[in-house]
Amino acid sequence: MVWGAATLSFLVLHLVPGDPVDIMLGVQSTATEATKDRMHHELGLDRPLILQYLDYLGRVVRLDFGTSYRLQRPVVDVIGSQLMPTLQLAGLAILIAVLIAVIIAVLSRGPLARSIASLLELITISSPTFWTGLLLLSIFSFQLHWFPVAGGRGFGALVLPAVTLALPVAGILSQVLRHDLEVVGEQPFVDSARARGLGHFQLLTRHSLRHASLPVVTLTAYVVGNLLGGAVIVEQLFGRAGLGRVTLEAISNRDLPVVMALVIFAAVIFVVINLVVDALTPLLDPRMRSRA
């Protein structure tokens, strides 16, 4: 899949009209045709496409994504230096999302609570992150002054962006989790556990949640994808540094080596996550072990 993504982005890059040299030079450049030709040669853009492709694949394997057109720095450095803020953001967001989802799923007993829960989920999923983020900023930063408005370092500056990013994910997770809990509730082992005298809460923590968490775990790749996409908007909204910022800047400037590296980076993440999920499922579900 990583190879597919790399190939696809290579093909698209070369099919697109527009000369990378023009992008590097900027709009107002007065470079002569001779200078442009020399730059073409230096970048290897005058060689046959298939050679460029093989060369490109070789460099990708060695984690060499070339140099950013705009920043004139190796792409790996650009991405590497912005990785941590986004990881922190996404990590905290996942934590918050799972926490909210579990709380909603566990608390929603009875028809009224269920209706409220499903309404909340509908709202969180339907609200665009750039709007919830603005609302949170408006209430907690401008009115209540609990959190810094934008930028800033440390944990306080991380809370609102993470919550913003977490809300839609929490809505989706809670929907799935609630549905699974309902299904689990009809299983015979629930009756037998009740017969042994387990209360509702014990039943949940010891049996049902573990059962119901399985489908949620398989959603991880989707959730992470959502967070990566959301990070672009949230980082812009809260003025944070990070991969989302890099993505947006690369896109606005048509800095294609950076864009391609980001696509490949995302593909690698998805593959790794799917591998981890496949490895985790047997741990959660003993039934999968015998089959494997």
Binding site: V16, S118, P128, F130, W131, S138, V176, E182, L248, A266
Partner: protein, 284 residues
């Protein structure tokens, strides 16, 4: 995987009983939105572009139900006029994506195995990424702009529709009535048109309704990032982005366009789920 699938797919059983009323309300909201987008002049007589610096940053009042922005423009009329562009992002992109999805899905489902395999590989790669990221990459290649935003959302949405058309086509292809039609000597193209396509349309309609909501969010998101239309064009995502800078002093500039987006998306989702239930009820 995509948000569209999620909104349409999960928690189907949880809201069954309340559905009809909610669906009516959602349908009514959608109708009003559609009328708003087509005839914004019916709802407001104020020009969304008229500036009045003496009335800048007025809080919501009778004269300006949604307040005014930094240049004194009436936010209510800006939100009303913004409906056209924001909705057309969602509707145009979804329509084109559905059509492209039908063509690709039918071809993949009916073509020889190796063609199907190649098409599915490409679709799977695209489906692994969230729609917003795919759209962002397309924007990176095409450059920013209103039309490019629509193209980007369309391309990002096609795989979802192509996949469901392909799956349904494969199911229908093996069914006895298609076999019967072929045996009776009907031409291949006619069989596809008469027997395969109608069966594909049902699930597609459900997905597309919910997909409009997703596409509206993507479109507004891209313009929020400054990759779509430019100021002073009224568009919900752009209005939100404009409101960001005066959030501390004038919350209403950002809040009302956001409500508009959220209400629209909720309405399409609720209505889509209603259609889905109708559709499933008929089948089983």
């Amino acid at each position: 995987m995509s948000l569209t699938n999620f909104l349409a797919g999960t928690a189907a059983g949880t809201t069954r009983r309340r559905m009809p009323i909610a669906a009516i309300v959602a349908g009514a909201v959608l109708l009003v939105l559609l009328i708003t987008a087509l005839f914004p002049g019916l709802l407001t007589s104020t020009d969304p572009l008229a500036t009045a610096t003496s009335e800048s940053r007025q809080p919501p009042s009778l004269a300006h139900p949604f307040g005014t922005d930094t240049l004194g423009r009436d936010m209510f009329s800006r939100v009303v006029y913004g409906a056209r562009l924001s909705l057309s992002f969602g509707i145009t992109a979804t329509l084109v994506a559905v059509l492209a999805g039908i063509v690709i899905g039918l071809l993949a489902g009916l073509a020889p195995r190796w063609v199907d395999n190649i098409v599915m590989r490409v679709l799977e790669i695209a489906l692994a990424f969230p729609e917003l990221l795919v759209a962002l990459v397309v924007i990176a290649l095409l450059g920013p702009g209103t039309v490019n935003v629509i193209i980007a959302i369309t391309i990002a949405a096609v795989p979802v529709y192509a996949r469901i058309v392909r799956v349904t086509t494969l199911q229908v292809k093996g069914s006895s009535f298609v076999e019967a039609a072929t045996a009776l000597g009907q031409r291949r193209a006619l069989v596809i048109l008469r027997h395969v396509l109608p069966n594909v349309l049902g699930p597609l309609l459900v997905l597309a309704t919910v997909g409009i909501g997703t596409a509206i969010i993507s479109g507004a998101g891209l313009s929020f990032l400054g990759l779509g239309p430019v100021s002073p064009t009224p568009e919900w995502g752009l209005l939100l982005s404009d409101g960001r800078s005066s959030l501390g002093t004038a919350w209403w500039i950002a809040v009302f366009p956001g409500i508009a987006i959220t209400v629209t998306v909720i309405a399409t989702t609720v209505f889509g789920r209603f259609l889905q239930r109708r559709f499933e009820g008929r089948r089983s």
